[in-house]
């Protein structure tokens, strides 16, 4: 069920993000969602892309440190309070969220939330039993 997130380690320096996105663009990889966590020294780019196999391969060839991790994607309504509702579900199930980021879709009246948790399975089952719809790789590819 989980979706694949491409994680890229970059030094915190001018132009490093552009060099990553440039490589992806040259290989026709489309970025669906992007989030960055940064410290003074380095940044970790988290990307949801349409073709993570190609993205991983071309970035690795260029010497980037890459990790593909499985994350949980969930659909929530595009209305105030909907994210809180989903987070409450996880909180009640005692699931800690390491980080999250959200993005809008063009076609649906929904927001997509990407969640990084310790156990994808536990989060997925908590969310689905509370009536939430999970995003699949197929959903990402349709975007």
């Amino acid at each position: 069920m989980a979706i694949k997130q491409l994680t890229v380690f970059v030094p915190n320096r001018k132009g490093t993000i552009a060099s990553v996105t440039d490589i992806l663009a040259k290989h026709q990889v489309n970025i669906r969602a992007l989030s960055i966590a940064e410290t003074e020294d380095f940044g970790i780019l988290r990307l949801i892309v349409n073709d993570e196999t190609t993205a991983e391969k071309v970035l690795e060839e260029q010497g980037y440190l890459i990790k593909v991790v499985e994350v949980v994607g969930v659909k929530i309504g595009d209305e105030p309070g909907k994210l809180t509702g989903a987070l409450d579900v996880l909180d009640k199930a005692d699931i800690n969220v390491e980080y999250l980021y959200a993005f809008m879709t063009r076609t649906e009246k929904h927001a997509y939330v990407v969640l990084r948790v310790e156990s994808n399975q536990a989060a997925e089952s908590a969310l689905t039993s509370a009536g939430y719809k999970l995003i699949t790789e197929a959903d990402v590819n349709k975007l």
Partner: protein, 435 residues
């Protein structure tokens, strides 16, 4: 535990007898060098010393030092003391810090060198019943050749594996029940990890002892290797310039290495003044080859920093002991008044499961030294969580603090991002020198 010696008479000789032997050999050796090595004769003449001035080891301090720079200048034949037709072998250093050093051996030189390695193997419990797996590199590197020869002399069944091809190492080790492993400590640790991954428990591994050297390693690393492989791990010391491994070796007491001082006369000097320091003081180790025929170095400065001790050893050997070298003088940095050797950083990295790909950056800001260490992390170590990466940096910094006494700032970086010149990483950037 019953003690075995390879050459008991020498290894347990009284100190006064040993010094008498050393004195006799020194007088002869100085004459041999003066007559046959114009390079060293010039150094002696410049200092106004003649072979007749050397009556015994008490006169050793009168002789000029040789340094690695001399060896490079004299490359390749400048320090050769025998005609080439009497030489049977060369060995060489890697040459990574400049021009390589080439050492020459007569048959007798090879023979005595192998005796030294045999003493080390016997001190580690080796006998002719043992199967000795030599996983040091064979070839120009002295590690493989030295231990291979020593193993033959002891009468062990010798597995001349050379380094690398770990799966094959493990196959031979388990199929042929190797009992002694000789290699670098980092390779021993790697073999141990691989065995563990393949499901071997220490009690399933036939090894009983390991003889590890040619690079710095810590007591922690020793404990780790001993546990994973279920063995006793012994240190061995040597350098190509004097012969190779076997200049000094560890015994069952594991509290320093006995120097084969019948062949290699050791001194500790102040690296700045060249003054000889008394036993027990820390300084630069200097060796004089007493028996080498083809490549006899007198007062060769090893740049290794250590301490000598004549404290009585429980193994019964009377040979003087040297502590594990703390590092090389030419690599030493002084940061915030503390001596830091890059080899110490390397040791910490290996202990903590990192590859030794690092760069030390020292600078001075507001009259205080800044000390940063960049370390390459592997794809396996990288995680998508910032908190994990920061925790790894913090834990590495604290391990370095324990080793060095001062706190570095550690930055993890992507693989292959540390600048390399001629394929070898630049280990130290000291910006203080630019001011």
């Amino acid at each position: 535990m019953a003690q075995n010696y390879y050459q008991k008479e020498i290894e347990t000789m009284s100190v006064s007898e040993m010094q008498k032997l050393q004195s006799e050999k020194l007088v002869k050796q100085v004459k041999h060098v003066y007559e046959n090595v114009p390079y060293y004769r010039n150094l002696m003449d410049e200092k106004g010393v003649k072979p007749e001035d050397i009556h015994g080891i008490e006169d050793l301090h009168k002789l000029p030092f040789l340094t690695k720079a001399d060896l490079r200048e004299a490359y390749p034949y400048g320090l050769l003391a025998k005609p080439l037709d009497e030489c049977v072998r060369i060995q060489s250093t890697s040459g990574t810090t400049g021009r390589r050093v080439v050492a020459f051996y007569t048959q007798k030189d090879v023979d005595l060198w192998e005796d030294c390695c045999a003493r080390a193997i016997v001190a580690a419990g080796g006998t002719n019943k043992d199967v000795c797996q030599v996983a040091y590199g064979y070839g120009l590197f002295t590690g493989g050749a030295g231990l291979n020869g020593g193993s033959h002399k002891v009468g062990c069944l010798t597995l001349p594996m050379s380094s690398g091809n770990t799966d094959r190492q493990i196959q031979f080790m388990t199929d042929l029940s190797a009992t002694i492993l000789c290699c670098t400590p980092s390779y021993a640790a790697y073999i141990g990890e691989t065995l563990k991954e393949q499901g071997y428990k220490p009690e399933d591994i036939p090894l009983k002892a390991g003889i590890f050297g040619a690079e710095p390693w810590t007591e922690e690393m020793r404990k780790g290797i001993e546990q994973t492989l279920g063995i006793k791990a012994y240190d061995i010391y040597g350098l190509t310039e004097t012969s190779g491994p076997g200049v000094a070796f560890e015994c069952s007491e594991q509290t320093g290495m006995h120097i084969n001082e019948d062949h290699f006369l050791a001194e500790i000097i102040d690296p700045n003044t060249g003054e000889v320091l008394p036993e027990g003081e820390k300084g630069e180790l200097v060796f004089t080859s007493l028996d080498k025929e083809a490549f006899p170095l007198l007062r060769y400065r090893t740049r290794d920093i250590c301490v000598l001790s004549r404290k009585k050893c429980s193994c019964g050997r009377t040979l003087i002991k040297m502590a594990k070298p703390m590092g090389r003088t030419d690599d030493m940095l002084i940061i915030r008044g503390v001596n830091v050797f890059p080899s110490q950083i390397e040791t910490v990295l290996l202990n903590e499961g990192y590859q030794p790909n690092y760069q030390i950056v020292v600078d001075r800001v507001n009259n205080t030294d800044t000390f940063e260490v960049n370390v390459e992390m592997s794809a396996e170590q990288f995680t998508d969580k910032v908190s994990d990466v920061l925790a790894m940096e913090k834990s590495l910094a604290s391990a370095m603090k324990t080793m060095l006494g001062i706190n570095p700032t550690v930055h993890l970086v992507a693989p292959k991002t540390i600048a390399r010149s001629e394929g070898k990483a630049v280990r130290v950037i000291d910006k203080r020198k630019l001011v």
